[in-house]
Subunit: 80 residues, 10 copies
Amino acid sequence: MTTAIVLVDVERTAMPHFGEELAAVEGVAEAMSVSGEWDFVAIVRVEETGRLSNLVSGEIGGLPGVLRTHTMVAFETFTD
Amino acid sequence: MTTAIVLVDVERTAMPHFGEELAAVEGVAEAMSVSGEWDFVAIVRVEETGRLSNLVSGEIGGLPGVLRTHTMVAFETFTD
Amino acid sequence: MTTAIVLVDVERTAMPHFGEELAAVEGVAEAMSVSGEWDFVAIVRVEETGRLSNLVSGEIGGLPGVLRTHTMVAFETFTD
Amino acid sequence: MTTAIVLVDVERTAMPHFGEELAAVEGVAEAMSVSGEWDFVAIVRVEETGRLSNLVSGEIGGLPGVLRTHTMVAFETFTD
Amino acid sequence: MTTAIVLVDVERTAMPHFGEELAAVEGVAEAMSVSGEWDFVAIVRVEETGRLSNLVSGEIGGLPGVLRTHTMVAFETFTD
Amino acid sequence: MTTAIVLVDVERTAMPHFGEELAAVEGVAEAMSVSGEWDFVAIVRVEETGRLSNLVSGEIGGLPGVLRTHTMVAFETFTD
Amino acid sequence: MTTAIVLVDVERTAMPHFGEELAAVEGVAEAMSVSGEWDFVAIVRVEETGRLSNLVSGEIGGLPGVLRTHTMVAFETFTD
Amino acid sequence: MTTAIVLVDVERTAMPHFGEELAAVEGVAEAMSVSGEWDFVAIVRVEETGRLSNLVSGEIGGLPGVLRTHTMVAFETFTD
Amino acid sequence: MTTAIVLVDVERTAMPHFGEELAAVEGVAEAMSVSGEWDFVAIVRVEETGRLSNLVSGEIGGLPGVLRTHTMVAFETFTD
Amino acid sequence: MTTAIVLVDVERTAMPHFGEELAAVEGVAEAMSVSGEWDFVAIVRVEETGRLSNLVSGEIGGLPGVLRTHTMVAFETFTD
């Protein structure tokens, strides 16, 4: 399984409902509105890295109001 | 409960063991080494925002080899 | 109580009245026009962190002429 | 009276006590540790702009562990 | 008296006459077209800091073709 | 005559006396400590552009504590 | 032979088919969608450096949806 | 004589003929399309610094498709 | 198989031999010295994404003189 | 023949003699000290692109006091 952190900026008008729409995308485990430079963060978990292409560009990038996304792919995950 | 995403840069020599040390910090739900500008991401969950000050500056910032951290505080979280 | 510093950039045409409109938003304790990269700073105080999502994205972000906002959430406040 | 927002970055080792030291500087009305790129924010209020030079460079800049500061001077303040 | 350095970017079409228009604003002691990232620099001298708000946002910002401004407020001035 | 705006960053320890030293350099018409990203601004006036090389790199750059300088050369100056 | 790495950003709507279109450009040895700041990377191999001008600006830059490109020219290549 | 290096970004549609148009501007000794962040570089030689204002803003900036320019003025030139 | 583009900056003294050392790392298909902001680019091919963590942080990051690395993970690759 | 523009930053102490040393490097057609973010610009002309690797990293990068270099390779040159 591959985990990725996707940072998302959206248009002002899309903000009120974007968190719920982002969380509803299959593969998005958790979405949150955040402080700082970016508007939203999505924690994504997919079966294989190749699936990220369509998930980020197609499904998240295709949500109404998305301005830009930035993906950090996890090489390895650690839990205690 | 407050969730935060903490981005961490570490010295090259600290890299091999840092993921496990980061995951072992109380309050860190998950740690991962990532592609791109930052070396590690920690998903943090604490009872209240005030606890983040000590967790980020004191405990994560105090791990050997930490160069800089950048915290995004979740205003609201969404799950499907 | 959570304190946050919200930096705001606005369109040139909105500038003359923006300071007063920003100060009138509930939760904004003080607004100011400032030197440097950003046009305005709002000092925000809310009962809980979760309230920031709607205040920043919805109410401040919804004021006419807002181009972008950047929020710094206070982990801890110190007064002498 | 002139208000200014001073952003401060400090060395990791200085973090645990810096908030209290910053708040104790005369002219600093409130200090806070914050999320994002900067470590601390100070809300400063002085009788006249000329006083900021010594306060920022001399007194805040002279605190142990200060790496860099960035000051935004308020042109005008608005309260509701 | 407060001195400030105002950096100004303007639309290409406004460039031929902008220097003269900028110099004609009351409070602008000297204007110049410059090399590098910004198009123009204005040296501004006003009776008090509060006057800068209207001068920069209203008068300079209101000149035709202004894209963005960036103000550095002088804390103290030194002449030999 | 060529005018130039020289931005200067200095070490924290040099700050208390730097303004006077900068103003004393021949060719520096006025020096000021400023808000924002840079510590000092010098307004420089020289007989010809070629003189700037030595003035900025040699004389200003040679003052104790100078970390970096950034020069904007005026193409044309406008006064009302 | 000259090798170059071309980074490409495209409009959201162009994303689904862009990888194949980029790979079909003569001189593009391999194209990929990537994590991080840029959307696509093309590995380009041409007979001589002069050919890069038309390939990058004309052919890749002329594909529908291209927003910006950034080329890194290889001085020397090493394989084991 | 004053030498300057002018970096130029142009719209994608202007690229095919821009190099020749840039080279044809009086005062431009050599133009080139380049790798990296900028699209073109012009090496400019004029009788005096004051001439750069009109050459860069008026003539180069007035060519069809120019998005932005950035000028580095030579203080001194060295040849072997 | 996962492909990644790794950008590498090295100390000046390491430059003469770094290209060969980089190409000799197992998993690096091709290395090149490049124009622009970064010194070297490595094209990396590994069996699975999880292997990138050790390859980038451990093996490439452990080469003498490495200052920083930046990895772009390919989601999908396209060849004609 | 390949032309390249090499931007160079040097230590303050190296500045007084650096222009002459840079101009004396074989392949450097002209060197100049410049305004703005970089200290020096070298106009380089070599027989083939492969020669740039050694010229920039080895010879220019090996001059005393060089902090960093940034090379823009000309794809095509235009003269009137």
